[in-house]
């Protein structure tokens, strides 16, 4: 293709491109809108301490939303992440407090790094179960993950008979101290969990653009039959996204129990809904094929800041739910309207020019 043919359409689209950029920045605009709003109406909103606290809260949604984004791009859904958070928190707490009792009378204790590793494996395994149900047994993603939602939550409750596992400081003689670092440690003034989020988000964004498997996620969600015909191993791609989603949920389980230094089996209830909301706010299409990690992160922060800001303003938690729901609906409606409007404007321009 010559350069001459490339400049032609570029000029024609120039005026439409402003609208296009606006559309892409939609979630950014929402982010700034909530920040500006709360900095006026919520006391101490802009203080450093509060900013760090809020970013910690938003981080939890963001982890789950990254995994959810990949799942949704393949055209699926993962409802089990909230329960995986709860179960993984319990596993972490249990390993630190009680270790693993071997049948021969010994009890094995793990250091914190090993605990984190085992918990991550637990999350990935539950994700793999979701994946197997969906790819091998042809269960619809909604149903398969709804099933694991209940199973995982039930197992978390069974683990301690519904009790909280408190005081996860660990013991010096067992060498498993320092669990609090994940949830309350900080590097260069930023919480450790935020650093991990940055690493996971960059990794996921890189994966989506530069790794074949990541690209295949989009192809599978866009047209599964065509993807199969092109030799993409669709089942492998689906297995991966659910396992990755489970992994993200395990991280959140670790972070929350480390922050509280206690594991409660009901932790993470309804978090899957926040994750879906964040992904959708960030422009992920529920019908599959489209979405970005960057958009999802911003979406997660919009939701996080919104709920924290409302708490600071003293809005009742009942109203908070109503407002959160409305924001999600409005975001999607505006997205659709903007798309349509923009399309019509460019089409009219083209029709007149042509």
């Amino acid at each position: 293709m010559t350069t001459a043919t490339q400049t032609g359409p570029a000029e024609g689209l120039n005026s439409g491109s402003i609208l296009l950029t606006l559309m892409k920045l939609r979630t950014f605009i929402a982010l700034f809108a909530v920040i500006i709003f709360f900095s006026f109406f919520a006391p101490n909103f802009l203080s450093t301490a509060n900013m760090i606290l809020m970013s910690k809260h938003a981080t939890q949604n963001a982890f789950l939303a990254i995994g959810m984004t990949f799942v949704i791009i393949t055209g699926g859904i993962d409802l089990s992440v909230g329960s995986i958070v709860g179960l993984c928190g319990m596993v972490a707490g249990g390993l630190i407090l009680y270790g693993i009792e071997l049948p021969i009378g010994y009890t094995v204790y793990f250091n914190v790094v090993e605990v984190a590793f085992i918990v991550a494996i637990v999350g990935i395994v539950i994700g793999a179960i979701n994946g197997l149900l969906i790819t091998r047994l042809n269960v619809a993603p909604f149903i398969a993950t709804l099933g694991t939602l209940y199973v995982a939550r039930g197992m978390a409750l069974l683990y301690s008979d519904g009790q909280t596992l408190p005081n996860l400081q660990g013991k010096q003689e067992l060498g498993n101290q320092g669990f609090s670092y994940l949830g309350s440690g900080s590097i260069l003034g930023l919480p450790v969990s935020v650093w991990i989020l940055i690493a996971v988000a960059l990794g996921a964004a890189y994966f989506a653009r530069f790794v074949p498997l990541g690209r295949h996620i989009f192809a599978v969600g866009g047209n599964e039959r065509a993807a199969r015909m092109s030799g993409i191993r669709v089942n492998r791609v689906k297995m991966f996204v659910y396992m990755f989603s489970g992994f993200c949920a395990a991280i959140v389980g670790l972070v929350i129990s480390s922050e509280l230094m206690a594991s409660h089996p009901a932790t993470g209830t309804n978090l899957e809904l926040n994750a879906i909301a964040a992904a959708v706010l960030g422009g992920t299409s529920m019908s599959g094929g489209r979405g970005t990690i960057g958009g999802t992160i911003i979406g997660a922060f919009v939701i996080g800041i919104l709920s924290d800001g409302l708490v600071m303003m003293g809005v009742s938690s009942f109203w908070q739910m109503v407002i959160k729901g409305l924001v999600i609906i409005v975001a999607v409606v505006v997205d659709q309207a903007q798309r349509r409007l923009q399309q019509r404007v460019t089409l009219m321009q083209m029709a007149k020019a042509g």
């Binding site: 866009g222 047209n223 993807a227 015909m229 030799g231 599959g288 089409l347 009219m348 007149k352």
Partner: protein, 514 residues
């Protein structure tokens, strides 16, 4: 514009323009439809015929322009508006509800009801059967639409449009899935409708068909109307000239090149049919390096199924596939592609393209591993370069490879699918009806590409139901009928009569058995 008769116009389009993102599908088109006549519309793929018809059917709204019915200005904002004005359409792509019965499909949105007692299914089935009998379709109105073969589904669509009692009936490539006998019946129905004063709009790529039943002809090129005439005043070469601007013969010139050794062999490929019998019946064939093997057959002859078996897309097939003498183990499309096979599927939209991705993304999706460094990292620069080469090599008209693939015309989309297959570096290329639903210009491009690839040493198997095409392109011709491979002949020994009689062979023996 040759002298065309302007009497008795029922519908008139004035200055219609329709823009999609990235493309002007129709530019300032004026079109007149005549009462009691077959108004033929021809043009290359992407010339805007279907768009124009979708505007008349109220599916799309024109970006600019006006529509007049019997001299009065009307607005067609929804398909329901069009139906109210007596406009019916048979779409190119099938629009049936597979999960509903044929009768329910025919009467959807205007169900026969018995007041509060709901839908009168019996009456619907009875009336639907009436329409179907008129089409001599041999379809029972209470079967599920998805259980019918594609040709019969097409007939159901036509029955549905006819049942609407329309004044204007649009048929967008109604014969693309019909057998010769079914086409004859359709033409009888059209003649009947014409006699009752219905204005028919008929779109097709098959020029001989247009000459047979057309009264008025309008030619579209690049969204503009380039010719309008009475069919009796013109000939096919006039149509071709108006469509592509010159009197081009659409087959690439033959380049003679020596053939290499056998590269592909299939042995005893067999695929059982659900209803009993075989969809692919013990087919064995081989192809040499640089050879083009044309597989001729009618609808349902088992050509697509054979290709799907070779690509291991069908789970239950038996038989062996060899490349370079080595048997391919494992039933896995991904491995087949890696071992040097590639398939260009018949249904571009459902199996060829990922509509939500860009042109570039579609081109490289099957071959990403080639651009990988260090085990997982895609080298974007190398990928870009390969995309550029593919776009140039196949003469794809892509303004920007980052645009969505759906912003291009059908012919260019087909080239993207071909490009995707070629980028996997195949030794054997399977093309299932590569010219289906493509205009003359893009067809010539595709045929030229096939010739060039063969001369570069690629072995090509392509299927077609176009006799002229199989005679012009193949080095050898295989004829399939009813799942069986009836004969394989070298082109110089083949005659058209021979191929036609061979293609009916499978049905003959079946009848003898029955």
């Amino acid at each position: 514009m040759t002298g065309s008769d302007d009497g008795d116009v029922i519908l008139e389009l004035r200055d219609i323009t329709k823009a999609y993102s990235g493309i002007l599908a129709v530019k300032k088109a004026d079109l007149k439809l005549h009462r009691g006549a077959v108004n033929v519309l021809v043009g290359e793929n992407g010339a805007g015929k279907s768009t124009l018809m979708r505007i008349i059917a109220g599916v799309e709204r024109p970006t600019l322009g006006e529509i007049f019915l019997d001299g009065e200005k009307i607005h067609l904002d929804t398909p329901a508006d069009a139906v109210r004005h007596g406009i019916g359409i048979v779409f190119q792509e099938l629009n049936l509800f597979g999960n509903l019965s044929v009768a329910e499909n025919i009467f959807s949105t205007r169900e026969i009801t018995r007041g509060l007692r709901g839908i009168d299914h019996k009456a619907q089935v009875a009336k639907a059967n009436e329409f179907l009998d008129r089409l001599e379709a041999g379809i029972s109105a209470d079967t599920l639409a998805e259980d019918l073969p594609i040709g019969q589904q097409q007939l159901v669509e036509i029955a549905r449009a006819v049942s609407l009692d329309t004044r204007i009936l649009i048929m967008d490539e109604p014969t693309s899935a019909l057998s010769a006998a079914e086409v004859d019946i359709l033409f009888r129905v059209i003649a009947d409708l014409k006699a009752r004063g219905v204005a028919i709009v008929y779109i097709s790529h098959r020029l001989e068909e247009l000459m047979r039943i057309g009264d008025y002809i309008t030619v579209l090129k690049d969204g503009q109307i380039t010719g309008h005439a009475m069919v009796k005043d013109i000939d096919t070469s006039w149509i071709v000239r108006s469509m592509i601007g010159s009197d081009a013969k659409d087959f690439a010139k033959q380049i003679d090149h020596p053939l290499g050794d056998e590269v592909f062999r299939a042995e005893e490929i067999c695929l059982p049919r659900v209803q009993g019998g075989y969809a692919v019946d013990h087919v064995s064939l081989s192809v040499r390096k640089g050879e083009i093997l044309g597989i001729y057959g009618l609808m349902g002859a088992g050509r697509s199924e054979l290709f799907e078996c070779i690509m291991a897309r069908q789970e239950h097939y038996t038989g062996k596939v060899f490349i370079d003498g080595a048997e391919l183990k494992g039933r896995d499309t991904t491995r087949r592609i890696r071992e040097g096979l590639a398939l260009i599927p018949e249904d571009r939209q459902r199996e060829g393209l990922v509509q939500s991705m860009s042109i570039a993304g579609n081109l490289t999706m099957a071959s990403l591993s080639q651009f990988v460094k260090a085990g997982f990292h895609i080298d974007l620069a190398r990928e870009r370069q390969a995309i550029g080469e593919a776009i140039r090599g196949l003469a794809i008209k892509a303004k920007n490879p980052d645009f969505e693939v759906t912003s291009m015309s059908g012919g260019n989309q087909q080239k993207v699918v071909i490009g995707k297959a070629l980028m996997t570096g195949p030794k054997v290329l399977l093309m299932d009806e590569p010219s289906r639903g493509i205009d003359v210009g893009a067809k010539a491009d595709v045929f030229r590409t096939m010739r060039r690839l063969a001369s570069e040493g690629l072995a090509i198997l392509f299927s077609t139901s176009d006799l002229e095409e199989v005679m012009a392109l193949s080095d050898r011709i295989a004829v399939m009928s009813n799942g069986r491979l009836v004969t394989v002949v070298a082109r110089r020994d083949a005659t058209e009569e021979m191929i036609i009689s061979a293609s009916a062979e499978g049905h003959k023996t079946k009848r003898n058995h029955a």
